[in-house]
Amino acid sequence: MSSSKPSENFSLEALRNGDRNEFSRLVEAYYAMIYRLAIKMVGNPQDAEDILQETFIKAYRHLKDFDGRSSLSTWLYRVATNEALMFLRRKHPEQVSIDEPVDTEEGEMEPVQIVDWCCLPEQELLSSEARLHLDRAIDVLSPSLRVAFVLRDIQGLSTLETSEVLNLSETAVKTRLSRARLRLREELSSYYKERLAEGKQA
């Protein structure tokens, strides 16, 4: 399945007037994209489904206020991202809010894992166990780093689009993305290092 965005061929007038047919076309075009964002953000299918449903309920209510300055997909991403972050805040109120500056604790850490695991075969890198580990590694990231990584590297948005969704500068997006990627590289290196060792023993 491709993560590329559907083309934006909707009548804004019909959507703003609450046209059910046009709204159902919008839901059809974007529900999978929003579900994938939600599942990567919250990690649980039931919670992801709730976020998906709330996103489109809110979208239907607020489409009349959509000013068309951003694309519809960016606007939907913003609604969905806010839902996901609100959910995470309710679940983990102690974690850093997206609005707060990224503190020094989240700064670049020196790479610890220096193991070249790129040579592992693809079926090992993306085995069902490895894919579970990829998901668990995302959960280690704080919500503010996670959301930048999910939008930019998983959903494939540009830095500019990500900055529009999150209402951050492009520089702030790049900083968060850099920290998220380096953190994930450490997590993945710890995991694949073991797979390399197993391969050598076999």
Partner: protein, 85 residues
């Protein structure tokens, strides 16, 4: 790492380096360093692989059965399922 000072300075730029977002002189500086520093080369290669694995992983993800139907029902547009596509 053979020159820790250099390695640390480059660390914050590696992500932009992968995205091709760096000015050419900084890009060349990183490439020169990578040619001499096997540890940093591993960091860059595994960083790139990390990003590409997540990209491939999501392309294999599918939405569980029933999610679409339940969404249309919740939005009270289930009479329009599979129409006008």
């Amino acid at each position: 790492m053979n020159d820790h000072q250099d390695c640390r300075q480059l660390l914050g730029s590696l992500s932009d380096f992968l995205d091709g977002d760096l000015e050419s002189n900084l890009c060349a500086q990183i490439e020169r360093h990578l040619a001499e520093c096997p540890d940093c080369k591993i960091v860059v290669d595994t960083l790139q692989k990390t990003v590409s694995l997540y990209h491939t992983d999501v392309e294999q993800d599918s939405v569980p059965e029933g999610v679409r139907q339940r969404l249309f029902r919740r939005l009270e547009i289930d009479d329009l399922l599979d129409k006008g596509l």
